[in-house]
């Protein structure tokens, strides 16, 4: 009894969570004509009228009703108007509905602006960032977790305190700085400032600290140097945390918007989110194309999520336990 209430509430609210996505999908395969006619429900149904003449069925649009007869435009199968203002009997006109999926919307949206380029840019930036973050992060975390050196704690807490500073604060001076370096509107601006991540360093340090000291002693006795210990002992033992850090890095980089919006200008350097944002301004009236573009832009992450949902959800959940 109690359980069923849980299920009902979870389902109703779950529906609210997915309805925007479902509607995005259904709208993305509708024809714009139908959407503009106000047919905005979930079913991709098309309404149209036909007129039969000498055994041939034509699609028509009615223009004006005049008593028992109607003035119509007649179209061929490619929707080219072949005759205008024909006067026919209203009873000869048949109203029809059919389910029709316009998958060509996806193709049209994809080539209308160079989304292919945006995808490649985003993939390049995201992979570079993840790669950099993991390298700088594991090196630094390894030093913070296992080595004793002067100023270690000071540097570490300085890093941590900077994690608290919100992006808008360093956004403007970063722009000035990157402009000074001549990096505005280059890949450098999108990648280099992000190849070290304080949260990743923190995450990896916590993990590295859990590795028992005896293992390090054993490695030292075997004649393992610092770097070899990191490579052959520490990293293999920390796989799941490294995956977590990579997931955070990838999702963060893929979805970042404000930074690339400000730091790049030329269309060839647009990442997916920026390209999508410009597309939404250019095609603001073309609802179904916008929905198609939104769909294929979130698809890679949705697929990643479906394959690794356990790991991803566990990663995000663990981010809350540190506090």
């Amino acid at each position: 009894m109690k359980k069923s209430i849980s299920y009902i509430i979870l389902s109703v609210c779950g529906l609210f969570m997915v309805i925007p996505f479902i509607w995005m999908l259904t709208t993305s395969v509708k024809s714009q004509l139908e959407v503009n006619k106000g047919n905005v429900g979930f079913l991709p149904i098309e309404h149209y009228s036909t007129y039969e003449e000498n055994g041939k069925v034509f699609r028509i649009t009615s223009v004006k009703v005049d008593g028992d007869s109607t003035y119509i435009h007649i179209f061929d199968e490619n929707m080219n108007r072949i005759r205008s203002y024909e006067k026919v009997l209203s009873s000869d006109i048949e109203e029809k509905t059919e389910v029709k999926l316009h998958f060509e919307n996806y193709k049209e949206a994809f080539i209308k602006v160079p989304f292919q380029r945006y995808f490649i840019n985003t993939l390049f930036v995201s992979f570079s960032v993840v790669f950099g973050v993991l390298i700088t992060g594991s090196l630094a975390a390894y030093a913070f977790a296992t080595m004793r050196f002067k100023g270690r704690d000071f540097i570490f807490y300085l890093f941590i305190s900077m994690m608290m500073v919100p992006q808008p604060v360093y956004l403007i001076p970063s722009y000035v700085l990157l402009n000074h370096l001549g990096w505005i509107d280059t890949y450098n601006a999108l990648i280099i400032p992000w190849i070290a991540n304080i949260f990743t360093i923190f995450l990896l340090r916590q993990q590295f600290k859990t590795i028992p000291a005896e293992l390090f002693d054993a490695a030292r006795i075997d004649g393992c140097g610092r770097f070899r210990t990191l490579w052959t002992l520490v990293l293999p033992l920390s796989k799941s945390v490294i995956v977590t850090a990579a997931i955070f890095g990838f999702i963060g980089s893929w979805n970042s918007f404000m930074w690339p919006l400000i730091m790049t200008d030329s269309p060839g350097l647009r990442v997916l989110q920026v390209g999508l944002s410009y597309f939404s301004q250019e095609a603001s009236a073309q609802t179904s194309l916008l929905m198609a573009a939104s769909t294929f832009s979130i698809l890679p992450l949705i697929i990643l999520f479906l394959f690794a949902q356990k790991q991803i959800i566990a990663s995000f959940a663990s981010s809350g336990l540190k506090g």
């Binding site: 849980s6 030093a143 604060v169 360093y170 001076p173 404000m258 929905m291 995000f316």
Partner: protein, 331 residues
Amino acid sequence: MKKKFDFGPYLYILPAAIIVIVFRLVPIILSFIVSFYDWTITGPGKFIGLENYIMMFHDGEFWQSMLNTFYLVIFVVPISLVLSLVFANFLNGIEKLKSLFRSIYFIPTVTSMVAISIVWKIIFNQQTGLANFFLTKIGFDPMGWLAESRGINDIFLSSLGMNFSGFIQNFSGGIGMSYNTLYLLLGGPSLALFCIIIVTIWKGLGYNTIIYLAGLQNIPKVYYEAADIDGAGKIRQFFKITWHMISPTTFYVLMMTTIVTFQVFSQIYLMTGPPVGGPLGTTKVIVYFLFDKGFGESNNLSYASAIALVLFGIILTLTLFQKRLEKKVHY
């Protein structure tokens, strides 16, 4: 014997340190400096002291953006907190389909705010949107949604037949405040801003639910077993056990949601306008305001820096306040 100085550890932190120092520490310090100058994109200007801050104080647009941001925080944080705690409790109580529901709630968290904003903007479209489609289906009049600048209190009270603007008119004369100011304060967030509130809650709900779920799973079962033996009902158990045991998580969720909501930008940039921040500036939030000042027509990077620092000050104060409160709650 004098030990040789070991450079090794510094080499390990060097790559990360260079990036963090050059692209975090330096810009953070720079932002303080820049805010006391009149910099534009063409280069450094002259020292003007507190002028940027004084200008901000007299800038009506700044105050409206602040008010809008506060409306956003005041609505998003508590609603998101309560809903996610409720969902987490329901999720914690079931076995079948648990992971399915968890995933469904979580999908908005991993999708980009840009795509989500585009979809919701069309949902709230007056002619071709889903929101008005549902409203008219159940017999209501369609609404203006993102184009509606009237406050939600005004809309609600007017629909009950009250003359809200007349009331403001009389009242503002009585206390010597301008009609517009009083309307913004008492009218509540505009319906357009309320749409943004809905989207912001929707986007962050899954993350908060997952955090709460992890917190709930850490509460030892023995407490509930003991309470069952004592005959305490489920609701009583929630308030007597769960609410207390979960409070560290609540503080975390509270802090994170507050910090993130103060920095809302993408949904404003993509869903509102043109001009962005409309209608009548009722959806202009502080981060969009500083973006507009810094990179828009006026290109006043110094002023934008000053605004960013004020935002930082507010966030920092609230965070420290919450930390103190947390210390008081956990003995």
